[in-house]
Symmetry: D2
Subunit: 327 residues, 4 copies
């Protein structure tokens, strides 16, 4: 019976996420997006599609078999193909909310999940599929992040945010994703009730220069918060990351490896590629396969558009912050 606020992200480009996984709908309100941004429905749907499970011939076919048909409805803020500057509300109905599957879980805490912690905190809890703690909430982030991406395309057309898997469980990923080896491992994992985490690199090509603030809102701090806020993430590294611990300074700082600093110095983007590395722990849901009938042997394929969404949101927020502040 405690408050569960904090469903907004950003200071100038702000999203508010809402919706339980098995309630009527998931949605987002984007506030602070300037007027006049071309609204690209195809881009929005492409991002949702990458997050969606169950597609044939796609690595994500090996993830949760739930048939989500995520059709976004734009309720406000867009008129004649452009943003109005008013709040943009986007809603996706939860059509296939098989909450019956979860009834058996009502009293049985699931290992690795936070059910017990939540119950202790909030008292009145929605047990239907994890409610708000479900990975389905990330849909709202992809909706909001897509609008951020549209804004960035309008003001910094060459900037691109791309996340890719570096490693899935014990397998490093090289060359074209998904490798046959990975598909085989995940198919087997699903059959045997195993799950894997891994590592993801997110890279911002041609970022705007001098995004970020020098003390508490360093660009790296806001990115760390945005990315550590994704459920399964256990580590965030910038540039050299954990490897920086062993280096000697005169060597470290004179090296001409461009990714050394990760594109951020003094809290500000330098204009070089921004490079971060994330670690995901293995999915816990897999443990309940027998009971629930749904699970993700590895969420990384579906997590990539979520990672990109969060980075686009941080960049859009700081772009607005940076703009227009000269006397």
């Amino acid at each position: 019976m405690e408050i569960m606020a904090a469903n907004s992200w950003g200071q100038r480009f702000v999203i508010t996420s809402f919706g339980e996984s098995h309630g009527p709908a998931i949605g987002v309100v984007v506030d602070g997006c300037p007027a006049g941004v071309p609204f690209d429905m195809a881009l929005l749907q492409a991002n949702l599609e990458r997050r969606r499970p169950g597609q044939h011939g796609d690595p994500s076919r090996v993830v949760s078999a739930r048939a989500e048909t995520d059709e976004p409805e734009i309720l406000s803020g867009v008129f004649e193909g452009k943003t109005l500057g008013t709040p943009i509300a986007i809603v996706v109905q939860n059509r296939d909310a098989r909450s019956a599957d979860y009834d058996s879980l009502k009293s049985a805490p699931r290992p690795g999940h936070a059910d017990d912690v939540w119950k202790q905190k909030f008292g009145h809890v929605d047990f239907r599929g994890g409610g708000r703690a479900s990975g389905r909430e990330t849909l709202a982030r992809v909706l909001g992040g897509s609008v951020a991406q549209m804004y960035l395309l309008a003001v910094s057309p060459s900037t691109r945010v791309v996340a890719r898997a570096l490693q899935i469980g014990p397998l490093p990923i090289e060359g074209e994703w998904p490798t046959a080896q990975v598909l085989e491992m995940l198919t087997q994992a699903q059959r045997e009730g195993l799950s894997y985490g891994g590592q993801v690199e997110v890279r911002v090509g041609s970022p705007p220069i001098s995004l970020g603030q020098p003390v508490f809102n360093k660009l790296k701090a806001d990115l760390a918060s945005a990315l550590m806020g994704i459920g399964a993430v256990t580590a965030v590294e910038l540039g050299a990351g954990v490897e920086a611990a062993r280096a000697e300074g005169s060597e470290f700082h004179w090296r001409s490896i461009s990714d050394q600093y990760g594109g951020i110095r003094g809290g500000l983007s330098t204009g070089e590629d921004i490079v971060l590395r994330l670690t995901f722990k293995p999915t816990a849901t897999v443990l309940h396969q027998a009971r629930s009938g749904r699970h993700d042997p590895c969420i990384i394929p579906r997590a990539l558009p979520v990672v990109e969404a969060m980075v686009n949101l941080v960049l859009a927020d700081h772009f607005l912050w940076r703009l227009g502040d000269r006397v």
Copy 2:
């Protein structure tokens, strides 16, 4: 000539940091600290002392030789030994601001520093010792974090936040800090103009339960932001951290290693110890030894109270958030 806002941290327990390294003073305003908290001046001074360089027989004697005598003045918010609930302003004069040392740097950008990036962003810049980008700004964090610590002592007396070095450059730290080996390495580094980073563990013993919010203000996200906001930090890991990438899930989640999750599940503290690991890159200032006469071969000894301060601030903020929210 751009705005440099974002000098506040926290949503309910809020600090505002101010002051340039070679200006008249460094200070902080703490707003949102409840009334009635016993104000422990000795605790405040002990924390400042740990951050101060130049002490004999202390590992920090090997760090920057600048003679800082940091005497805090309480300007407001404390009356008859207790907080009033009003803003607590604390100021430390910069007595030994030898800005002349830095005059020669006015036009020479320092490798590894952000001088050039800042100039591009802000136009009008304070070159005196890095101005606001200097490590001296962290003094404000220790001031504010100490008040957060006093608040936590009042409401959760058994909670303790402790940071310790795990590794300095190539040397792992085991047993009593500082080992003779570390002191020898750092002494030599100072002589030869070398510098080292390392790794730090910060552990919260007996933390309050169910701190954190489920979506964007997960406790781990706010901690990541607070810690990645420290200048030299390049990686933040929770619990198993980067090691979680390779693990298989059924093994990972059933293991009975208490630090596995780092004390946070579903974004909320579980009551177990909260455990994070930070990576610091090597100091850049060392490169300019010949010119400036001051440098830190390794900032980790002095960074420990700064790390603790930031964690205390996050805990105090979430403690206030959690309190009183039941119907």
Copy 3:
């Protein structure tokens, strides 16, 4: 083509309003409402009904003849009759959005409206019925304010917020509202294309004690902002209001008239009735009757639930602020 943010209200009990008057829907997201509050759908609908025009035997029958059937859908945040603590999203479809009526206005600025000012600011503007500037946006406030009212009922059951008309144009209101005299005046006004403003008193009976903050978030300051934020309001008075200007102090402060201070001293509620008086200017839309076919000769009857909603929001926000802040 400027940003139009600021669609959120509150610091702890926060609503985000969205929707254009002639777009698909109007809605609100309530964030920060504690878990466990009984959700009273009948109360919500009763408040919407009072805001709705076109009812027989009701003074609001003389207002805008638009047939709004406002059916709220709860998209999230409520489960088994209680709030979950998660964001509560409520949406009302705009079924009768006769935007054709407004096509003729696309190029013709309407006197008394802000069309020209908005166009200058935002560039890309929604001309359909005023878009976001329309009075229909206040529906979102009634939705959000109703949830605030439910929360207050749970934590302070005797508190009641009631707004009533004191004066309509030249006619003071005494006794039962609406008087025959007022109905006659408004009926004639509608026929002749006239419009009236008036004065409204809002009174909080049995308010919680010591709501408010002493410096910038005085309860009277937050109430003034909430009420002056209603489109047609031109004056906000607390207690004696403008009458306080002429009084001599020793008489003023010793008088035993309870409404003298309006129930707020030093920025804090005293526990006495909180009493404010608002002035509304006459509706401007009436001037376009011939062209648009819709107008309100006086918006005060429909504005009463909006006034109450804003006051409930301020009280809920400050109730959360006050709670749980003792060491």
Copy 4:
């Protein structure tokens, strides 16, 4: 023993006020002021001087006889005559804090003051001269508002904010202030222990166009909050104010009186003069003359620079908000 936060004002141009009336100092931190603004120390001191009591030949000589010598020290954020963009901390020592005067009040609640309400709320209270509730806190507002004024001068040089008395108690003010009649009345009031409120007009000449946001942060709403947040203010009116209640609409909206709307329509500044009217209640302190030896028979003369400061802060905040938001 409750929290007393909310000592910050503004969203982009933000001040944080601190200091008790009889503690060591009063001060402000200004965050969000862009770099490169010429810092005008003379302007700052002139504003402080207008707020200071006890000057010969000045109407304010009739106000509180406390000899405040308010010498501002700039602790940070200004370098070589310009703002750095970093936080600007300004402190004024309380040299003449005769708290002994107030010892007798420690247990005696003062009628018209909020002592009893505060004690109930906060438990641990600073009784020295009202602590933070004292009018001396407004010094921090004048410090912060002066920086806002400098920023506006840099970006909108023709804009001028001027407050003037319209009425003191029963006497309307026409012609040169102070009239002999007013001086006589106030001198007598001081002798006899009487006090007066009055009315103040604040006018913004040549304001920037389209400041404000359309829904909750209407310019009039933020101004109302800023001005109602001044201790003794009981009413805020925009343009026609309370007079708008009686007017018929077609007459009201077609009238060519420029101050009719007060320079704000649809929540946005139109470029016409912004005109507001405030009502102040009579000072309560006068009642305690015999005990305390200090009182203000009328605070309006000293309140004028405080009113201007708050308006400058709102304008600066919205100027930053408006800037740079075009795609």
